[in-house]
C-alpha cells in the first residue's frame, strides 16, 4: 500500500506534465492564443496602472536589472511592514514589531523564494504580515523566478529576445499563480484548512484543561506556499501542523501543487526548442534522480531507528519520531523528497528527526538543486549541467561543443563555472566558519555527528533557496539571521544573473547547421551523460561532508 500510493501520485504528475507545460508555453510564447480572452483585459489594466507603455524585448542586462530592482522594492516595503506590524491593522493577537536582524533574514528569505523561517508563525507575525508580507512575497518571488527561467529558455532556444521582465512578471501572476491559488485555496478550505480572521481560540478540553488554538487566514497562504514552491509555514510546525495539512488528501494536493509547475517546465522548454524529445530527456534525467533518492528515504525510514527498535517495542511502522500518524512513512517520504527536489522547503515531518540515511535524501537534493527545482531555477540549473555535459563530451572528442545548434565558447563556460562553483562555496565555507565560533556552535541542539548535519543542512537549505531546516538548531540569533541571509542572497542572485548572461550571449550567436558529427542532445545517451555530470560534478563536491555528517551518524547508530 505504501509503494502503491506513491506510484499513484507520480502517475498523476506524469499526466499533468503535458497539459500544464503546453499551457505555460502558450502563456509565455507571447503569440496570440486562447488564454488572452480570459486575461488580456486585466493585464492591460495593470500595464496602464504601472505606466508600462511599450512591451518590447529587453536586453539580458535590462532584464536582470528589472528583476533585481523589483525585488529590492518589494523587500523594502516588506521590511517596513514587519518592523511596524504592531501598529498596523489585522493584529488581533497583539503581536509586537519584529527585531532588525530577524526582519532582515525574513524578508530576504521570502523574496529569494527560500522561506527559511527563524520566527515562529504563531507568535512572531500578525495576520496583516502573514498576508501582505508572507503571502505577497510568495507570489512575487515565484513569479520573479518563473520569469527568469522563461527568459533563460528564450535565450538558449534562440527566440527574438529574452523577453520583457514586467510583462512576464504580470503574466505569471495573472495567468498562472493567482487563478491556481484561488482554486487550491477553496479546495483546501473544503478539506478543512481554516481561513478566518478570528484571533486565537480558547477552548476547555475534555480533560478540563484550557487549550489556546492558534488559527488565521491559513488556506490562502497554504496554496501559494506550495504552488510557488515557497514553503514558509503559517505555523512553526509547517505542513506537519494539522491546520496546514489536515489529511492525506490535502497532503497529496500539496505535493502536486508544488511539483506540477517545476515538472512541467522541461516540457515547456521542449516546445520553445521546437524539439519535444529534448524536453522529455531533461525530464527523465530529473525523474531518474528523483526516484533514486525517494527510494533511499522511503527504505531508510521504514527500517526505523535502530536505537529505538532495540527497545523491544513493535516498530513495524518505521521511524515515527517527528512524523504524523495520518501520513505514515509513505506520505512523509514522498513529501520530503518532493519538497527538497522542488526546493519548496515545506515539511510534513521533521527532517531533523529522520534516520541518518534517510536524511541524505533532502540534503543531497538541495545540494544538487536541479532535480525539478523551485520556480524556474531547477530547470535553469539542469540546463546548465546539460551545457556542461555537452562541453565535457566535446573535450573528449575534440570538437567545439554545440547546444541547440549554437556553439558553446569560453564566455559561456566561465559564467557556468561561476554558477556551479558558487553553490558549494556558500555552503561549505559558512558551515566550516560556524564551527569555528561559539556563535555557531552554541546553537547546535543534537550532540555528535548529527550536530554537524544540523549546521550543514541550514546553509545548504539557505543556498539552495529551499527553506526547510533541521529545526532543532536554535537559529534565531543575529549570527544565524545575518549569515544565512547573505547566503540566501548569493544563492539566488549570483547564479540567476550569471545564467541570464549566458542566455544573453547565446541569443546573439548564429545557429550552426546540424551535421552527422553533431552531438545529439535528445536521446537516451545524453540523458545518461546528464545524470553522470550531475552526480560527478554536483554530488562529489559534497561527498566528504556527507560522510562526516549522516554517514558517520549511521555507522555509530547501528
Amino acid at each position: 500500500m505504501g509503494v502503491l500510493q506513491i506510484v499513484v501520485v507520480i502517475v498523476i504528475l506524469l499526466l499533468l506534465v503535458k497539459p500544464v507545460g503546453t499551457y505555460l508555453y502558450h502563456v509565455f510564447s507571447n503569440e496570440p492564443n486562447r488564454t488572452d480572452r480570459w486575461f488580456a483585459r486585466t493585464e492591460k489594466g495593470i500595464y496602464s496602472l504601472i505606466g508600462l507603455k511599450k512591451r518590447g524585448g529587453m536586453s539580458w542586462k535590462k532584464y536582470a536589472i528589472s528583476f533585481v530592482l523589483t525585488n529590492i522594492v518589494l523587500v523594502a516595503f516588506s521590511y517596513i511592514f514587519l518592523r511596524l506590524q504592531k501598529g498596523l491593522p489585522l493584529n488581533p493577537s497583539g503581536i509586537g514589531n519584529m527585531e532588525e536582524t530577524l526582519t532582515f533574514n525574513t524578508v530576504i528569505s521570502f523574496m529569494t523564494n527560500t522561506n527559511l523561517q527563524h520566527y515562529s508563525g504563531e507568535t512572531g507575525v500578525s495576520y496583516f504580515s502573514q498576508m501582505a508580507v508572507m503571502t505577497m512575497l510568495m507570489f512575487t518571488s515565484a513569479a520573479s523566478g518563473f520569469s527568469v527561467a522563461v527568459a533563460f529558455v528564450r535565450g538558449i532556444t534562440g527566440q527574438k529576445s529574452v523577453g520583457n521582465f514586467f510583462e512576464d512578471f504580470v503574466k505569471a501572476h495573472i495567468r498562472i499563480f493567482i487563478p491556481l491559488a484561488v482554486l487550491v485555496t477553496l479546495i483546501m478550505v473544503g478539506l478543512h484548512v481554516p481561513q478566518t480572521l478570528k484571533p486565537t481560540l480558547a477552548v476547555t478540553t475534555l480533560d478540563g484543561q484550557t487549550q489556546q488554538i492558534a488559527i488565521g487566514p491559513i488556506a490562502s497562504l497554504e496554496s501559494i506556499k506550495h504552488l510557488g514552491t515557497n514553503g514558509g509555514g503559517f505555523f512553526g510546525a509547517n505542513s506537519a501542523h494539522p491546520f496546514e495539512n489536515p489529511s492525506p488528501l490535502t497532503n497529496v494536493l500539496e505535493i502536486l501543487s508544488m511539483w506540477m509547475l517545476p515538472a512541467s517546465l522541461p516540457y515547456m522548454y521542449g516546445l520553445f526548442a521546437k524539439n519535444k524529445r529534448q524536453g522529455w530527456m531533461i525530464f527523465s534525467a530529473m525523474m531518474t534522480l528523483f526516484v533514486l533518492f525517494l527510494g533511499l528515504n522511503y527504505y531508510s525510514e521504514t527500517q526505523g531507528n535502530p536505537a529505538i527498535n532495540a527497545m523491544g517495542i513493535d516498530s513495524s511502522q518505521g521511524s515515527m519520531e517527528g512524523k504524523e500518524v495520518r501520513f505514515g512513512i509513505a506520505q512523509s517520504a514522498l513529501f520530503t523528497t518532493v519538497t527538497t527536489a522542488a526546493t519548496t522547503g515545506t515539511v510534513n515531518n521533521m527532517h531533523d528527526t529522520q534516520t541518518p540515511l534517510g536524511s541524505i535524501t533532502p540534503l543531497t537534493l538541495m545540494m544538487l538543486n536541479n532535480v525539478f527545482g523551485g520556480k524556474g531555477v531547477g530547470l535553469v540549473n539542469m540546463l546548465m549541467y546539460a551545457i556542461l555535459g555537452v562541453f565535457l563530451c566535446g573535450l573528449m572528442v575534440g570538437r567545439t561543443p554545440e547546444f541547440l545548434g549554437r556553439k558553446i565558447e569560453a564566455r559561456e563556460m566561465k559564467l557556468i563555472a561561476i554558477a556551479i562553483l558558487i553553490h558549494p562555496l556558500i555552503i561549505l565555507v559558512p558551515t566550516a566558519g560556524a564551527f569555528l565560533t561559539n556563535l555557531g556552535n552554541g546553537s547546535i541542539s543534537n550532540p555528535g555527528f548529527h550536530g554537524m548535519t544540523q549546521v550543514l543542512y541550514e546553509y545548504t537549505s539557505a543556498a539552495a533557496n529551499n527553506g526547510s531546516g533541521f529545526e532543532g538548531l536554535a537559529d534565531n540569533t543575529s549570527f544565524w539571521n545575518i549569515t544565512t541571509g547573505v547566503v540566501m542572497m548569493l544563492g539566488r542572485y549570483v547564479s540567476i544573473i550569471a545564467m541570464l548572461a549566458v542566455a544573453g550571449s547565446m541569443i546573439k550567436k548564429k545557429p550552426v547547421p546540424e551535421t552527422i558529427g553533431t552531438f545529439r542532445t535528445d536521446n537516451g545517451l545524453f540523458t545518461g551523460i546528464l545524470i553522470g555530470t550531475v552526480l560527478i560534478i554536483g554530488a562529489l563536491t559534497f561527498l566528504p561532508v556527507i560522510v562526516l555528517g549522516p554517514i558517520a551518524e549511521y555507522l555509530t547508530l547501528r
Binding site: M1, V8, L49, G51, G56, G57, T70, L74, F77, T123, M131, A132, V133, T135, F139, F166, F169, I178, T185, P194, T196, L197, T200, L201, V203, L206, D207, Q211, I213, I215, S220, L221, F235, A240, P242, P246, L249, M311, I313, D314, S316, Q317, S319, E321, G322, K323, E324, V325, R326, F327, G328, Q331, V347, M350, T353, S445, N446, F470, E553, L557
Partner: protein, 206 residues
C-alpha cells in the same frame, strides 16, 4: 543585430526616474492584489460557503459547548481515557513543533526509555512487543490528533479495568472510530483520540 538596435532604442525611451517609478507602481499593485485583495476575498468566500471548515472544524459536546477542534490533539492524562502521542509542548496549540531530536540524541533515547518503563507499570497486561512505535514517539507538530488503531487497542485493557466497560465494547468503539485511508489509498488508518474519548465518555455516562 537589428533586434539589439531596437532594444537600445526602447531602453532609452524612458528616463531612469520614470523607470524606477514604474517598478514602485508595479510593486504596490501586487502588494495590494496578492497581499490584501486575494486573502480577504478568499476569506469572504470561505466564510460564506464553508464556515465550519473555515473556522477550525470545531467539535461540540451534547450540551453544545465547544470542546476543541477535531484536527488538533489534546493532552489526556486521565488513565481512564485514551492517550495520544508524546508531545513536547503538551498539546499547547498556541504554538506548535517538537524538540527535533535526531535519531542518536541521548535525551530522546532517555525520554523513550522512561516512557516505556512508565507504560509497563500502567499497562501490565500488555506485552511490550505489542506497544506500537507511534505511541512512544513525538509527532512532528506536537498536536497530532490521531493514533494508529493498534495504539488504541493496546490501551483497552487498562481502560476496561478502570471503567468496568467490557473489552469487547471498547474494541467495537475503536473499530467504529477508526478512519480508513483517504479514498481507500492515501495515508494511513487512524483513530482520532478526541472523538474516541468523547464517545467513551458518553458510554461511561450511560
Amino acid at each position: 543585430m537589428v533586434n539589439s538596435i531596437e532594444l537600445e532604442e526602447e531602453q532609452q525611451s524612458m528616463s531612469k526616474g520614470a523607470y524606477f517609478l514604474m517598478v514602485v507602481r508595479l510593486s504596490v499593485v501586487f502588494i495590494v492584489l496578492c497581499g490584501i485583495i486575494y486573502p480577504l476575498a478568499t476569506t469572504a468566500i470561505a466564510q460564506v460557503v464553508m464556515p465550519s471548515q473555515a473556522n477550525g472544524s470545531l467539535l461540540t459536546n451534547k450540551a453544545g459547548v465547544v470542546v476543541g477542534s477535531e484536527l488538533i490533539g489534546q493532552n489526556f492524562t486521565d488513565p481512564a481515557l485514551f492517550h495520544g502521542r508524546v508531545s513536547s509542548i503538551d498539546y499547547k496549540a498556541e504554538a506548535s513543533g517538537s524538540n527535533n531530536y535526531g535519531p542518536s540524541n541521548p535525551d530522546m533515547l532517555q525520554r523513550t526509555k522512561d516512557f516505556i518503563t512508565q507504560w509497563q507499570l500502567d499497562n501490565p497486561e500488555v506485552p511490550l512487543n505489542k506497544l506500537p512505535v507511534d505511541l512512544i514517539t513525538n509527532s512532528g507538530s506536537g498536536l497530532d490528533p490521531d493514533i494508529t488503531p493498534a495504539s488504541a487497542i493496546v490501551q483497552i485493557p487498562r481502560i476496561s479495568n478502570l471503567t468496568g466497560i467490557p473489552t469487547s465494547q471498547l474494541e467495537e468503539l475503536v473499530a467504529k472510530t477508526t478512519k480508513g485511508r483517504d479514498l481507500g489509498l492515501f495515508g494511513e488508518e487512524r483513530v482520532n483520540v478526541l472523538k474516541l474519548n468523547m464517545a467513551l465518555s458518553e458510554m461511561s455516562a450511560k
